[in-house]
Symmetry: C2
Amino acid sequence: MRAELAAIVGPEHVTADPPPHYLRDATEARGLQGHADVLVLPGDAEEVAAVLAWCYERGVPLTPRGGGTGFAGGAVPQGGVLLSLERLRRVRSLEPQRWRMEVEAGVTTADVRRLAREHGLLFPPDPGAAEQSQIGGNIATNAGGPHAFKYGVTGHWVTGLEVAMAPGELVRVGGPVRKDVAGYDLRSLLVGSEGTLGVICSAWLRLLPAPEATLPVVAAYASVAAGCAAIERVLAAGLVPAALEYLDAGTLAAAAASFPGGLPDGCELLVLAEADGSRAEAARVAGELAEVLAEGALAVERPDPAALWRWRDGVSIAVTTRRGGKVSEDIVVPLERLGEAIERTVEIGRRHGLEACSWGHAGDGNLHSTFLVPAAEAERAEPAAAELFELALELGGSISGEHGVGAVKRAHQRGPLHLHAAIKAALDPKGLLNPRKKLPDDIAPPAAG
Amino acid sequence: MRAELAAIVGPEHVTADPPPHYLRDATEARGLQGHADVLVLPGDAEEVAAVLAWCYERGVPLTPRGGGTGFAGGAVPQGGVLLSLERLRRVRSLEPQRWRMEVEAGVTTADVRRLAREHGLLFPPDPGAAEQSQIGGNIATNAGGPHAFKYGVTGHWVTGLEVAMAPGELVRVGGPVRKDVAGYDLRSLLVGSEGTLGVICSAWLRLLPAPEATLPVVAAYASVAAGCAAIERVLAAGLVPAALEYLDAGTLAAAAASFPGGLPDGCELLVLAEADGSRAEAARVAGELAEVLAEGALAVERPDPAALWRWRDGVSIAVTTRRGGKVSEDIVVPLERLGEAIERTVEIGRRHGLEACSWGHAGDGNLHSTFLVPAAEAERAEPAAAELFELALELGGSISGEHGVGAVKRAHQRGPLHLHAAIKAALDPKGLLNPRKKLPDDIAPPAAG
């Protein structure tokens, strides 16, 4: 096995003894650990397709892996070939005057954003862990982030993909063009498919001129209800913030100490909005946001954006640190049910004897509902997580807004599962691409014809 | 057949003798005409699913039909059941304070936009023929329009769908939530599938606060090259217009007479840009647009937006009228090839003895390349259209940016057709949904496993 794969990618890029950090992702904090027969590091898209062809011929499962920052265990292998895209990190083209670039899957999210910024442009998705996470993984999970409220999720910025697909061919869908309705939308189907339909090797990305200014406004509230009412008022006022985030009291208990400038006593919900655009436009929107958020607030502040986002990026780790682990999900609910979802997250935790908190993308109704539990005891939180998914569906929402389904949520999938299974069977007939992910085990596609 | 369908939808909503206008769409201008055994007008989504179930049981083809404004013959039936969605026109909910509405497929595009506007909101897609076209058809073709440059195509504004799918079930994907990565992106797959994977019955739409002001800027150039250089300068300057359109000399020959305010002599390319946003922001962007567009221009004007868009909406009809028919395609090319595509459209026409022109969505590289020919002689233009598709592919583009493939472009489809065929076979195993559309006849899905 090793020798044959070495013939494809070179002997120095195959190991039968993968270092442990290749067998985990951010679900490490809930105790998830995988195993693989061999780790393969191809050097380009053709080698990825050749490795897939090899797997397909021999019936060997293949798990693709980006930066390993996922919260759903999508990159945690369960035997077979573990294929890391880390060596595919060429920037194939960058045309700032045409707002686009073509990058290989292993380029980090931070590098994509940095390159854009250096040319006065913006790649809007900011799902977090940017220095470690790779653009291919962001696309494979259709990652979101705070600025998805105004700018949409990762897939919205992908115009073309190069993908290794069964039984081992390199397929191109889309490209540098901004519109395309020939054929079915394979691009969108592959985005967010978590490596279960193909391995993303490179992508054409759409960029946008960078806003001249970004001006955050932060408001503290004495109750969840007061904060959520303020969030709803922002939309009702016709304001379009670039980001509209919240953090609840439990989250602040873990993270408030380092909040730039400090927080008022009795803050039960912190709302974080950001205006962007030209200097004048950002100032106008920030002013209106401050006015709308002030009603019923304990305090309204205008922090420095760099300091604020640095702090915001550290929230997840601060929460993990509090008890040495966490089980964190990313349910979505319609905006008007946000307050209920925040409060019921804490209630579910209480019923299961677990400290619980949430924060997230308020404007998108996307909560990071989290149970604090040491990694070694993470199983204790699984029944609580299951209740959380039921809650999301009961409130008219979804079990995942941005992390994906991966290994940890597949038993909780709802909806027309037979159609998802039919798609999987059509594009990965041997079921070798990232097996035991995304879909439940016991779902079969409908019988043909 | 008629009696059984009458039992589902009521006898007054079935006819074996469909009025002729049900058997055509905008491809009438190129002589396309269909036939159907029966026209069925269901009254709600459940009846649509029941009709599909009836078709699936008996192996009868079903062609869904919206407003019949398509340019690709997608709604032109080729036997079997013709199902019009026109009676599904309930607005199921409208929640302006949450920027969303749920509408049935038969609501006209104009009504969707009007309802949004009456509540201070914007439904951005504006594919044209808004009073006749229906939102279900817009979604089924993933329609675009001038403002897709800033706001994206129709699919970008759809968060949920209710779809009748084989063998006759009503499926819901997504809903009022703004994010969802559970399962594969069936929503995007169904958007733009032109009725070949399912019949869209209703949709959840996302809205946006309406911009306070829209300020068009129009510039005339003495050559295609000068105009295209100006278009590229807009992007390079980091300006984001809401729309960035062009019209070439041949188009202006048909349509210039009614241009508000008149055009300067010698105009070979007209560029139409629009700034929007708050009053101050729109004024700032319009000012910068005027400055950037002025270089090398014969004239720069700031027309009244209502008069300008009324004129722009009439361009397609003005071009049709000139020779009593037209064969109009909607190729897409990378922005930097726009000028070449404009000039080669005219050359292709010349080689085939046809007057040719183009206009369209410059910023998206999306041309409406058109051959003027009476409807009765439209066949003469088919070899020219075939060359046009080759041109689009040669320039790194696509054969369709917004009209879809329908009946007229399916032989010109390129790319991984076996994957498209596999999807079709997975979701419509009997091949009864809008047959002989979207995909070429001779493409079979790959053999399973």
